[in-house]
Symmetry: C2
Subunit: 175 residues, 2 copies
């Protein structure tokens, strides 16, 4: 096990600023590109991250602490952001992600002080019993997976433009 | 073709700052993790990006403009940074990447003004004839591929820590 609360928070703190530096001010060509029908462009990935801040991570952590493994978490709808219409431009969403994440890290620290038992469990509606440490670790890795998704989606825009370099650019081999 | 010089520059401008926000101040656990023997940790990826700024992209662009397709580019050693010992800590490397990239974007603008023929070709030692547009597009996608690599390598540190979430976190399925 490598999980450590402070190191997980390091990741959670950095992801919004890193994405802001990557995406803020980019041309629509980069922000709108997607890998095909039903896949997300960069702006929709930010919508998904925002939705998860609002309805997934902190609500589940607090549910687990309150209910233990007796009652399953309310399910999280991974596609809710696509229906909610997500008003506002990308710049305001990036700012909102930074703000809500910062607030959620404060809540996380309040909910799980250093002497917390990270082995305590809750009940995931699909996975069954899960540990508090797994839920927090998944939150951090969720940031990584969506940063990787965003750069992969944008890279795909130049798939044919790089000509023979495609073979050396591993990101173009993944979808 | 989606290539456009200004849009490629947008990516080249943002990558160093995005990586700085992601990596600066992280614990050694995140910076030292690798996927196995012979693979690169985050710090070594930054060394590689620095080496490519010094010896690959701008030198090849200027060689192509000067020599056309008559003479092959001098080969670029993708592993040079592992032997050069790369002095300095990560913070100074991130700063150096930002500075050298900014300088190289200035050089790029000077070398290829807007009326440049981006279809003109050079000779790659391995691929043969390549277009100027392909070389510049590959530079931008090279940033994306290494950002994706860094987050994938770091995510792998929590592979077993996320428990059953592994199946929803696509980044953990890639190496």
């Amino acid at each position: 096990m490598n999980f450590n609360l402070e190191e997980a928070i390091e990741v959670l703190e950095r992801a919004p600023r890193s994405l802001e530096q990557l995406l803020s001010g980019l041309s629509e060509g980069w922000l709108q590109v997607r890998e095909g029908d039903g896949t997300w462009n960069a702006a929709e990935v930010i919508d998904h991250l925002l939705e998860a801040e609002r309805t997934n991570w902190i609500p589940r952590i607090s549910f687990l602490l309150r209910e233990g493994a007796g009652k399953p978490f309310p399910p999280f709808d991974r596609f809710a952001h696509l229906r909610s219409g997500a008003a506002g431009g990308l710049e305001s969403k990036l700012q909102e992600f930074r703000d809500i994440r910062s607030h959620n890290i404060d809540l996380l620290r309040a909910l799980v002080p250093p002497d917390t038992d990270f082995e305590q469990t809750g009940r995931h509606p699909e996975f069954g019993e899960v540990r508090l440490s797994e839920l927090i670790a998944a939150w951090a890795v969720h940031d990584f997976t969506h940063i990787a998704q965003i750069v992969r989606v944008m890279a795909g825009r130049y798939r044919s433009d790089v000509g023979p370099w495609e073979q050396y650019l591993g990101i173009l081999k993944r979808r």
